[in-house]
């Protein structure tokens, strides 16, 4: 049986504020099960979040939680991790938060290889502000600020982070909470910057504007993708030793653990300098 992880929630704050059918809570469930499976004590857990629907989840986790400013969660988290390397620091961010206003912080956190686990909720829309386009909205999709179809191409967050030097890059989806949990477990165990982008759904805006149905229908649409990528998500040999195995290509997005590399971790390097008293 999968465990009941509600003990990791601030139950007196529930129910959470997210809309009916929103996929974000599924992702949080998978995350908490990964935390539970790894036996991370709540007192060692810090959750840092930016602004947006996904970032509001931080406040429901019974840990040290920091709800910061729009796009900047990774910078706050880097400071916290440097000050308290013993903490497991998880960053919750959305596609607008992490890839638009916070894009600079994302690439630099990846480049520095700070030991953070960054979970980016990609629902291709700005939910909190009412359904505007996000940097992950594919061309042609309708949003409140793209009533005639989005004229821009979308970011591939995983490719961006890998290019910036992230040492663990993966993509999963809310439809596959078990595969997601497995990936999150590995991301949490990874020493360095890990980036897990999770496809999730906004039935209230993205679903409605694009006539895709409600929560269940949006999950079904992920299921269609899942058929092609499910095996890869579960296959631990998916990433070859050189970390460059080809991954499934679905609507331009690749799924699974897409990249893994070993590089010195920033916090460790900084404190090593401190221990040497500044001697090079």
């Amino acid at each position: 049986m999968i465990p009941d992880v509600r003990g990791y929630l601030r139950e007196n704050r529930m129910p959470h504020i997210l809309c009916p059918g929103c996929g974000h809570g599924i992702v949080l469930g998978a995350l908490l099960r990964a935390v539970h499976a790894l036996g991370i004590p709540q007192d060692r857990l810090a959750v840092v979040a930016g602004i947006g629907c996904s970032s509001r989840l931080a406040g429901y986790v019974d840990a040290c939680t920091l709800h910061t400013t729009h796009g900047r969660a990774l910078a706050f988290a880097a400071g916290l991790k440097l000050a308290r390397p013993e903490l497991v620091v998880i960053v919750l961010t959305g596609d607008g938060d992490g890839l638009s206003i916070g894009g600079n912080h994302l690439i630099h956190a990846a480049r520095r290889n700070v030991d953070l686990t960054c979970i980016l909720f990609n629902n291709a829309v700005y939910g909190m502000t009412g359904g505007q386009v996000a940097p992950t909205t594919q061309p042609g999709w309708v949003a409140s600020t793209a009533p005639y179809g989005h004229p821009e191409p979308a970011f591939d967050g995983c490719a961006l982070v890998q290019g910036a030097g992230g040492t663990f890059v993966a993509r999963s989806m809310a439809y596959d909470p078990r595969g997601l949990q497995a990936i999150l477990t590995e991301a949490l165990e990874h020493r360095g910057f890990s980036y897990v982008e999770v496809l999730t759904d906004c039935p209230v805006y993205f679903g409605r504007y694009n006539r895709l149905g409600e929560g269940p229908e949006l999950l079904w649409s992920q299921k269609a993708r899942f058929g092609e990528v499910g095996q890869m998500l579960r296959d631990k040999r998916f990433v070859t030793p050189d970390g460059t195995a080809p991954a499934g290509r679905v609507e331009g997005l690749r799924f699974g653990i897409l990249h893994r590399a070993e590089r010195p971790e920033f916090t460790h390097v900084c404190w090593s300098q401190v221990r040497r008293g500044g001697d090079p």
Binding site: M1, I2, D4, R6, L9, M14, P15, H16, L18, C19, P20, G21, C22, G23, H24, G25, I26, G29, A30, A174, Y175, P177, R178, E214, G215, P216, L219
Partner: protein, 278 residues
Amino acid sequence: MQTRNVLVVGVGGQGVLLASNVLAAACLARGYDVKKSEVKGMAQRGGAVVSFVRYGERVHSPLVERGRADLVLSLEWAEALRWAAYLRPGGVLAVDLVRILPPAAQLDHRTWQASYPAVEVERLRQAGWDVRPYEASRCAAELGDGRMANVVLLGAVSRELEFTVEEWEQALREVVPEQVVEANLRAFHAGRELPLASVSPGDVRRPAARTFRVEVTASWCKGRSCGICVRVCPEEVLAFGPDDRATAASPDRCTGCQLCQLLCPDFAVVVREEVAVG
């Protein structure tokens, strides 16, 4: 000597491989040639597992053909039925009477109780096999750890094989983890003294049914406008109640897959297994 053919069978998690490793170690201790091969079936817990062990002066193939096995050591009743056909006429079928519902049986989960085979030892005896039923799991549980049923059953059949007690003990010490060697030695000797289980003809005892409880925290549920749990449940256990919140309308149909719990974005659904009392 003639090459001896042994099958150790059971379901995932029962320790089939450990039991066959002990047997193989005993063979080596005696100086036999030994070949061993395994089909781990589904690697997950509950999947069928079989291990072939062949030993003698000189052994070439690791595989045993149907109708050629001297001994089938089965850690589970239904698995004994599955593999009995491998026995030669007069071959020994040592079987633990524990009954574990295999995943395959769950395909017929609404009526699965009837799909589990009855314990009909006499019918097997009529087929010409030397059937030795044991309550090995119960014995192991009484010793303090039900997981040692494999070693208890090994102990029970050890008298039928040519190895000395010392060779068995040496094999156990080699194979089982150091911290549980003593416990396993006790299990082995308890198995050596274990009497045959008395099974009346027509015993159709079946494993206890697994039942599940679906709990919905109504105040966290966002109801019909979400609707994910109601829609994803393959057994249509969940429905909307008068308050528009999800509720377990047909709880007895639940098979414990927990899709509802995994996919509820609001942490409102939890599935628990009911623990049978008595």
